[in-house]
């Protein structure tokens, strides 16, 4: 787009090309424009990419001259950045865009009758959630485009069970334009409307193309040890066996009812809990602990999720009211003690999963308030015997505190965005973790055959998810890799052995050029960096330093823009001869939260109407 209302810039091509090979997605977004005016104009390239993706490349080609981005250590890039800021230029290219996306934007001055081509590449490992993978592309061309195309090719050697493509902007007229071809191991999805088909109405310039294009798919899941692919000296192991019975769970909900939860947050927590309780399975056990300054609870120990108990708990939940301060430490410790005690008393099924779900919106301000001390207390009390999941409500909670605490205790943290769908988000999180299938899953490979293994021990495998392990083979010519998987399943141990062999790509994809060369290696690098970044926050001080250094090395080696690196883009010289470096960063969840906080009054302008009393009459 341009700043001019009556611009003479023609965006003549916008293409989004995504190739997925064994869940690893490589997306290239290209936009070409021509300045038809007699004078130079500033042209903007603005695209959204998933927050789980790492940018790997960006370039601008102006009249045959290519200006490519370069991934550098963040500190070094920052020096260039500071120089740019001190000379009055703004430089940040990546900003928060909603919950799932980040916005990359750059502008460049283009001479009269000149062309520019912007190309942004990013990569991500698609995660299996609730039984499918999702590829999300957000498109918003500001004008009609001569050549508009979204093309996705999915290669899954395991075989594809279904592919579903839809978009928020698809009308009945546009729907038939989504072309989908699915064969056993390959899917091709394309969407390429003509200019006329993009038009909002006959004769007008507005475009219909504005929204999310979403592809969902799943793969055939192998029984036994799962599926292993060996390519070019690297392997990746996908483990999500079908037809495993779910394990009973014992879950303690620790719910913040401090004053700051007042109003909608409390109402939404109640609403979500009412649904969550309804979804408990009868063989599950559960407890409710409420906290403000004081800790109170529904019952002194966990109860079996019988219909009667659930009904009683739901009545209790309906009357949760906000009041007082925030004593997280004692509240979670009460939950831990309850689980430990009930286990000791053999009130809980032997083969079952213990978990605590903490829902809070604020900083502890009562009891123990030192965050590090609280983390230590939890780690000590939990002792690796249960999982702690932390849900941080709104923008005031210290997300990194919850994130570290979750990761230190076999769990994780998730932000709940304060909005009208908060209750749905809470339920969504619960769905992700509500059905454990296996506990203490160990994936083992011969030590003399592999190195640089990503995490191969997982405290749980949840229904609808998938465990992924990747590594490097020490013998580059190895064709067969022995593997063993151990875990604790429902009623019995899960133990399988097997041997994986390298695929012959010419047989699996006979009509494709060999494009898969470095996919597995990059998948391994992506996964390794993600895990190192986690370790750099939650490990011991030594581990933190080592993990940070290694993650930085790998980010640079594989050209990933991670929280430790930045991409520096040098724009063409301006007329006065100055160069202006631009910086693309990877945002952390804390930065995203900060950005949301700043944007709060803009995002929810009507919130005031809810804080004052309201009186109304309407019909159902």
């Amino acid at each position: 787009s341009t700043n001019e209302a009556t611009s003479q810039v023609e965006v003549y091509s916008v293409t989004v090309e995504c190739t997925v090979m064994s869940r690893f997605a490589h997306t290239v977004m290209t936009s070409k424009a021509l300045n038809k005016a007699n004078s130079s104009q500033e042209i903007f390239f603005e695209v959204d990419l998933p927050k789980t993706a790492f940018i790997t490349n960006f370039s601008m080609e102006i009249e045959g001259q290519v200006y490519a981005g370069e991934v550098k250590e963040k500190e070094k890039a920052k020096k260039q950045y500071e120089k740019a800021v001190s000379s009055g230029q703004t430089a940040g290219l990546v900003k928060v865009s909603g919950r799932k996306m980040e916005k990359f934007s750059v502008s460049v001055n283009i001479a009269a009758n000149s062309n520019v081509t912007f190309t942004l590449t990013y990569e991500e490992l698609l995660q299996r959630k609730l039984g499918h993978y999702e590829i999300l592309t957000r498109v918003k061309p500001k004008t009609l485009v001569q050549e508009f195309q979204i093309v996705t090719n999915i290669f899954e050697p395991q075989g594809i069970t279904f592919v579903d493509a839809h978009a928020t902007f698809l009308s009945n007229e546009l729907l038939p334009l989504v072309d989908k071809t699915v064969t056993d191991k390959k899917a091709h999805i394309s969407f390429s409307p003509t200019v006329e088909q993009q038009r909002k109405c006959p004769g007008c310039d507005g475009t219909l193309i504005d929204g999310d294009f979403v592809i969902k798919y799943d793969v055939n899941r192998a029984k036994g040890f799962g599926d292993i692919q060996i390519v070019n000296g690297y392997f990746v192991h996908f483990f999500a066996p079908p037809e495993l019975p779910r394990l009973p769970k014992n879950v303690v909900f620790v719910i913040d009812r401090s004053g700051s939860m007042g109003g909608r947050k409390m109402a939404q927590t109640r609403e979500a809990m009412l649904e969550i309780l309804k979804d408990l399975h009868e063989e599950d056990h559960f407890a409710l602990i409420l906290f403000d300054n004081y800790i109170t609870g529904w019952r002194g120990s966990l109860s079996k999720a019988t219909k009667e108990n659930v009904d009683e708990a739901r009545v209790y939940v309906r009357h949760i009211r906000d009041d007082g301060g925030t004593n997280i430490n004692d509240a979670v410790l009460t939950g831990v003690r309850m689980l430990v005690h009930d286990r000791k008393e053999k009130r809980l099924p032997e083969r079952s999963s213990d978990m605590i779900i903490l829902m809070t919106d604020g900083m502890p301000n009562y009891g123990e308030t030192n965050l590090q001390k609280i983390q230590e207390n939890m780690r000590f009390a939990i002792g690796g015997n249960m999982s702690l999941f932390c849900l941080g409500f709104g923008d005031d909670v210290d997300y990194s505190f919850l994130d570290v605490m979750g990761k230190q205790n076999k769990g994780l943290a998730r932000r709940i965005y304060e909005a009208s769908d908060s209750a749905v988000q809470l339920q969504g999180f619960y769905e992700d973790v509500s059905s454990p299938l296996l506990l203490e899953v160990d994936l083992r490979y011969p030590e003399n055959a592999v190195d640089s293994l990503t995490t191969n021990h997982f405290s749980q495998l949840f229904n609808g998810s998938e465990i992924v392990v990747a590594g490097r083979l020490t013998d580059n010519d190895l064709d067969n890799l022995p593997v063993e998987v151990f875990g604790e399943g429902f009623e019995e141990k899960y133990e399988v052995q097997g041997e994986a062999s390298a695929l012959n790509w010419n047989v699996v994809y006979p009509d494709e050029e060999y494009i898969f060369g470095d996919f597995t290696e990059r998948l391994w690098a992506y996964l390794t960096i993600q895990q190192l970044l986690d370790k750099s926050k939650s490990g011991t001080p030594d581990e933190k330093v080592n993990a940070t250094a290694k993650a930085l090395d790998m980010s640079l080696q594989y050209s990933f823009v991670t929280p430790l690196t930045s991409m520096v883009v040098i724009k063409p010289e301006t007329e006065d001869g100055t160069e202006s470096p631009l910086i693309a960063d990877k945002l952390t969840e804390e930065q995203r939260q900060q950005a949301d906080k700043m944007a709060y009054p803009v995002l929810t302008p009507v919130s005031n109407t809810y804080s004052s009393p309201s009186f109304f009459v309407d019909g159902d």
Partner: protein
């Protein structure tokens, strides 16, 4: 129609239904000091549903601000405003606004009308459009008070009597007819009422689906909660 009294300081809400014959006109707000009056007329379903239950809704509101000389008639068909001695008509089918010295109106196409009466009250009227060929239902309106703090202590009416707060206590929570809706005892205005926990919908954010607001439901047309009984609020004309 369902009435909702949301008390944000208590994070709680009270609700009741008023059912009468279609065509009845009720006084919702009456403030003799500022000269504000809001009356609403009900309609029923197109025909009596199979369950025999007659549901009524508001389809027309008459609003007067005597001191400012403003008069508004809002129906599911159109919006008429009288000010400075003349009538102006607005259509639900257009987004538009009208700014006057004493009244501001903002119409969002087929959705809502926000009315701000100078130095007195602000409210929004929602239009619920129903599929024209629906066998039972027809278009109706919702009335939401956004700001009433400038009204006098004498303000009354089915909604107005709650504008300056209400004292109540709820105790003795016990199982109700359905597990999701427990009963309780409410002490309010010197009376002891049997109330039921339920929810009603607030359509301001999403006019189609609405958002559930949990509330204490007062049975029998709000008897005991409202001053007098529902019949006391019936008037003969819209203005």
């Amino acid at each position: 129609p369902h009435f909702m009294i949301e008390l944000s300081d208590r994070d709680d809400a009270l609700c009741f239904n008023i059912n009468d014959n279609p065509g009845t006109i009720f006084t919702l707000v009456r403030d003799p000091e500022s000269g504000i009056l809001v009356n609403g007329q009900t309609i029923g379903d197109k025909k009596i549903p199979l369950d025999g239950k007659i549901n009524t809704y508001f389809w027309r509101f008459g609003i007067i601000h005597r001191t400012l000389g403003v008069r508004l008639e809002v129906s599911t068909h159109e919006i008429s405003v009288f000010q400075d001695g003349k009538w102006v008509k607005l259509l639900w089918s257009d987004t538009g606004s009208l700014k006057g010295p004493n009244v501001d109106l903002l119409v969002k196409k087929d959705r809502s009308l926000t009315v701000t009466l100078k130095d007195s009250v602000k409210f929004v009227i929602l239009l619920h459009k129903v599929w024209q060929k629906h066998p039972y239902h027809q278009d109706y309106l919702g009335f939401y008070t956004l700001d009433s703090h400038l009204l006098s202590p004498a303000v009354h009416g089915l909604l107005g009597q709650f504008y300056h707060g209400i004292e109540y206590e709820v105790t003795d929570l016990r199982p109700g007819e359905v597990p999701e809706k427990p009963d309780a005892t409410m002490f309010v205005k010197g009376q002891e009422l049997n109330v039921t926990r339920g929810w009603q919908r607030d359509f301001r954010r999403n006019v189609k689906v609405g958002e559930n607001v949990p509330c204490w439901f007062i049975h029998s047309n709000g008897t005991g909660l409202i001053d007098g009984d529902a019949a006391d609020y019936i008037v003969s004309g819209l203005f």
